[in-house]
């Protein structure tokens, strides 16, 4: 049963991500996970510490219209982000207005929302565990 610990970790991801904050929904119903992730270069606007998913807002310039747009990116549950060491705090960390590069799976309805894939911070660090399940899957 060499795969049992791996399966246990995977199952834990399911439990931890889903049960702690309530019900899971199907990401494939909302995001185009079969297309390449889009890259968003902008500035940090705010984080929303809410359930069932924390949200990261970044301000991005729409190159076609020249308008600044608010992109709302879905992250994991806050509890899981904490466990993964999410490096964004209100004080002493990255602050609103700092440059952020994010990759995300775009929403299927064409809105400026997405499923967060990765965040690159001003100091060059990249955080790739912002979406539920990924940390456990990478183990």
């Amino acid at each position: 049963m060499t795969l049992r610990p791996l399966a246990g970790l995977l199952a834990c991801g399911l439990l931890w991500g889903g049960v702690t904050v309530g019900a899971h929904h199907a990401v494939q119903a909302q995001f185009d996970v079969n297309a390449p992730a889009v890259t968003l270069v902008g500035t940090l606007k705010k984080t929303e510490w809410i359930n069932p998913h924390a949200k990261l807002h970044i301000t991005v310039k729409n190159e076609k219209t020249g308008q600044m747009e608010d992109w709302e990116l879905q992250m994991a549950a806050a509890a899981q982000l904490r466990r993964n060491g999410f490096p964004l705090s209100v004080r002493g960390g990255v602050k609103p207005g700092d440059p952020i590069t994010a990759t995300a799976f775009a929403a299927r309805d064409g809105s400026t929302t997405g499923l967060l894939r990765s965040i690159k911070f001003p100091d060059g660090r990249t955080f790739t565990r912002g979406v539920y399940g990924e940390a456990d899957l990478e183990k």
């Binding site: 795969l3 399966a7 439990l15 049960v19 119903a29 002493g92 309805d109 990924e134 990478e138």
Partner: protein, 303 residues
């Protein structure tokens, strides 16, 4: 830059980490019961001055969710393991690790395995035939209908055992995540007459002792909650009986659902909680639930 621990002030979420570790251990095939029999459960059970087992404390590893998964049921565990084992090679072969293609497979499989594993639990409520069609529809296309996904309370018994208990001689105060609290009289007062029932998310509960076992009976529910992820609804005539027993530093919780919609009472899998040994453990703020995703769903499919 500061160190991670200083930069991230919430690293003190000891209870969450402990709960995660316990869940991982249980699901990784560690026989929790065996551990308890040799350690925690063998410890003396503390008692209050009235002689009753002391339920006070933070309790980890109970997990919410009506399905309960199979952590303490080997047959259910095997189902989950079998599914995930089949998926693992697919992740490895699909694309180089870290690429978007690999990731796409991972996240979709994660969601779909979640749904499959939720459905694979063998211990299910057995509905009368007239409800089977609706149950199947909710299981398949109920993505936007799960009350918990809409930030409504999971309710009793779906939210499982409490994370913290304050035990007084006359009442039990149960603290959950999910911004939920129950205050349960254990002073012998009766359940209010049916004519006074109004239909509640957690119902009206009364506790009593049967020896060292706390028995909580709950009635007066609404019919807005589900018993579990697969769409298991219930009626306002549901009655839930929870049985809790402390042995050493463990707390056993088991709930049974009686409902006229069911062919027979649904005896949920028991769950064993561990006392958080950290005397300084704190409960963090429960974040508000704010549903923002339903408007962006383009299909009804579930995980």
């Amino acid at each position: 830059m500061q160190s991670r621990s200083r930069r991230w002030p919430y690293d003190l979420s000891v209870s969450l980490v402990l709960a995660g570790v316990l869940a991982m251990s249980a699901l990784a095939g560690v026989d929790l019961a065996a551990q308890q029999s040799g350690g925690a459960a063998a410890a003396p059970t503390p008692r209050l001055p009235d002689g009753k087992p002391d339920f006070n404390g933070m309790w980890a590893g109970g997990r919410g969710g009506g399905a309960g998964f199979g952590a303490e049921n080997p047959a259910d565990n095997d189902n989950v393991v079998a599914l995930l084992r089949a998926r693992a090679p697919e992740l490895d072969k699909s694309a180089p690790a870290g690429t978007d293609a690999n990731y796409a497979h991972a996240i979709v499989n994660f969601e779909r395995d979640s749904g499959l594993s939720q459905r694979s639990v063998r211990n299910r409520p057995m509905y009368k035939p007239e409800h089977w069609t609706e149950i199947n529809e909710l299981d398949k296309d109920g993505n936007a209908l799960d009350p918990a996904f809409k930030c409504l309370p999971q309710g009793v018994p779906r939210m499982g055992p409490p994370n913290k208990i304050v035990h007084t001689p006359k009442e039990m105060i149960f603290l959950y995540g999910l911004r939920m609290t129950r205050v349960i009289p254990i002073d012998g007062r009766p359940i209010p007459p049916v004519a006074e029932w109004i239909g509640l998310w957690n119902g009206v509960s009364r506790g009593r002792w049967e020896g060292d076992e706390l028995v909580i009976e709950t009635v007066d529910f609404n019919d807005e909650t589900w018993l579990g992820w697969p769409g298991w609804f219930h009626s306002i005539d549901m009655k839930v009986t929870e049985r809790m027993r402390r042995e050493g530093s463990t707390l056993r919780w088991q709930a049974t659902v009686d409902d006229p919609m069911l062919l027979q009472p649904w005896v949920m899998n028991p769950r064993t909680l561990q006392l958080n040994a950290n005397a300084n453990a704190e409960i963090e703020e429960d974040l508000p639930c704010f549903e923002k995703d339903l408007q962006h769903m383009v299909t009804k499919e579930r995980g």
